[in-house]
């Protein structure tokens, strides 16, 4: 799995209420959710984000509510990967389950600047900041989780008989 894009950088404890405010939870339409993504933390996100872009953030990204609408909004807005120092646990499993790529890498999250061009090769555990030339190592997912992602998500894994 390889991802390349420009970085949109955020801080610690980005919660699901700012990723997708509850006032928009009366729909589960992916495009509509994406049109309000990050609205309460960064009004410019929707106009700035380009397909393939990468979000970097600090600790506890995605804390708060269990709303799957949060990773859905991020994925549907075109973001290919989220790199954070740590993720809140429900957001973490939701992302895996819907097939949004995420990775914990505190060094990369610290060093990479907003708008840097970044390439991530998660199979080999390497993140490269193409703007600065810096390189960071990540820990690969456990095999079980890798298999969910490779099968395209949790439901797809069940449908294919990978989980019984």
């Amino acid at each position: 799995m390889k991802y390349t894009g420009n970085v949109l950088k955020y801080g610690d404890n980005v919660d699901t209420d700012v990723i997708i405010p509850a006032r928009y939870l009366n729909t589960s339409d992916h495009k509509e959710l994406a049109s309000h993504c990050m609205e309460d933390i960064d009004k410019s996100f929707v106009s700035r984000v380009q397909p393939g872009d990468i979000i970097t953030a600090g600790y506890n990204f995605g804390c708060g509510s269990s709303r799957e609408h949060a990773p859905i909004a991020i994925k549907a807005s075109g973001v290919s990967l989220v790199i954070a120092k740590s993720f809140a646990r429900i957001f973490y499993r939701n992302s895996i389950n819907i097939g949004l790529a995420i990775v914990e890498c505190p060094e990369a999250a610290d060093a990479i600047a907003d708008d840097d061009r970044v390439e991530a090769d998660l199979d080999n555990g390497i993140i490269r900041d193409l703007t600065t030339g810096q390189e960071f190592r990540t820990v690969p997912f456990p095999e079980f989780i890798q298999s969910i992602i490779e099968n395209g998500g949790l439901m797809e894994s069940i449908a294919k008989g990978a989980i019984e």
Binding site: L25, N60, S66, E68, H69, I90
Partner: protein, 418 residues
């Protein structure tokens, strides 16, 4: 305790922290926000029925009674699905309540259960000795289909409780105090296990409130040791036969947090994180516009009683809007029979039908730009209750009521002296 429950549900003798397991579930929960996404995911599988009609439950509580057309469509989608699949425990307007107050009340959760819910505050049921955790809609869909979920076995933090609470201090003050110490990610991926000699002095409703906010410390679950009070509660509510798991004497913990309940003071979490806990020595003169008493954290009968005790013979301060939301129909009825509703109305409060409404900025009490609310809810993130430039201060029902009396954030100890 958590590890033992997970091992039993995975069909294993023991499990260790970090191990990935597939565990059987005793109950799968969803609400009107998360279930529609789960229903769509469920359809992808092409299976006809849920794994067990009695072990899937949906509660229409977030935007119900329907706040707008889209919310109505979402509830309809859940209603149609539950009707089609013959789901026993579907709770709609008239029967519904705020889910985490409703399920224990209906006896749907017992000690030793493994529960997932597509709502982050599903961790509430740990108060009853269950392993219970919040998940997303896809996990819910998977749970509905096969009755199982994957988990990474968590390590644990032990919260050792001693002493007993002082007057007007409740479970909410305890959990805000604890989150103030751990921070909002201090228990990330881990289990918070509540034990100690102070446990017996905490009512089951206080425990439900404490376990409810374990997620605000980042925890996977919060779980209380089962005692006589738990068993009595489960019997009273007609829950299934409890299975009791206790921690071994040599159980391993990442850390131990000692909490002397007798030292806890009325505590308020300042915007915009639940970890910003302060006691009244550090709280100045903060004027407020609204007070909300309710939610899955603090909408139970003991909460309404605590608020009513403070409000008795007094009136809301001019300019403060007070919204009281009994969490379930049964609580509403009991509050009515006890004369609490009359007391709230005479105080100048509005009493609402059960709903999550304002807690997540849905409806029934949205804040305008620059407004401040004291709420007995569980989150005070940016924009949580309305405008992105509004503020939410988290507090106990007693503190919220005291603040409604004076119009500024006020300790219940201060109002006692008025």
């Amino acid at each position: 305790m958590t590890q033992k429950i997970l091992a039993a549900h995975a069909g294993l003798d023991t499990v260790r922290a970090g191990q990935l397991i597939l565990a059987k579930l005793d109950l799968v929960l969803g609400n009107d926000i998360t279930s529609p996404v789960a229903v769509k995911e469920f359809a992808k599988l092409g299976v006809d029925s849920v794994f067990d009609k009695d072990r899937v439950t949906m509660v229409m509580d977030h935007f119900a009674p329907n706040k707008d057309i889209k919310a109505a469509e979402q509830c309809k989608m859940c209603r149609d699905f539950c009707g089609e699949k013959g789901i026993t425990h579907f709770y709609d307007v008239g029967e519904m309540g705020v889910e985490h107050a409703l399920l224990p009340e209906k006896g749907l959760v017992s000690a030793g259960y493994a529960v997932i819910g597509a709502d982050s505050h599903t961790c509430t049921y740990g108060a009853l000795g269950a392993f219970s955790t919040g998940v997303g809609s896809t996990d819910m869909a998977c749970g509905m289909a096969i009755g199982k979920a994957w988990f990474k076995v968590p390590s644990a933090i032990r919260i050792n409780l001693t002493g007993s609470l002082r007057k007007h201090v409740s479970g909410k003050d305890v959990i805000l105090h604890i989150i103030g110490k751990t921070g909002v990610d201090g228990a990330l991926y881990r289990s918070m296990e509540f034990t100690g000699s102070g446990l017996s002095s905490l009512s089951v409703e206080d425990r439900l409130c404490i376990a409810n906010m374990a997620i605000e410390a980042g925890a996977k679950n919060g779980i209380f040791e089962v005692d006589e009070l738990t068993l009595e509660y489960l019997r009273e509510h007609g829950a299934a036969e409890p299975v009791i798991y206790s921690a071994d004497g040599d159980a391993e913990y990442d850390e131990v947090l000692d909490i002397d309940l007798s030292q806890i003071e009325p505590t308020v979490a300042f915007p915009h994180l639940p970890e910003n806990a302060r006691t009244f020595a550090e709280i100045g003169d903060i004027k407020i516009d609204q007070v909300v008493i309710g939610s899955c954290t603090n909408g139970r009968l003991s909460d309404l009683k605590a608020a009513a005790e403070i409000m008795k013979g007094k009136h809301a301060a001019p300019g403060v809007r007070v919204i009281v939301i009994p969490a379930t129909q049964r609580i509403y009825l009991e509050a009515m029979e006890l004369g609490l509703l009359r007391q709230f109305i005479e105080f100048g409060a509005v009493v609402s039908t059960p709903t999550c409404g304002p807690c997540l900025g849905g409806y029934m009490g949205i804040l305008a730009e620059g407004e401040r609310a004291v709420a007995t809810t569980n989150r005070n993130f940016v924009g949580r209750m309305g405008h992105v430039d509004s503020e939410v201060y988290l507090a106990s029902p007693a503190t919220a009521a005291a603040s409604a009396v004076t119009g500024r954030i006020t300790s219940p100890w201060e109002v006692d002296k008025l």
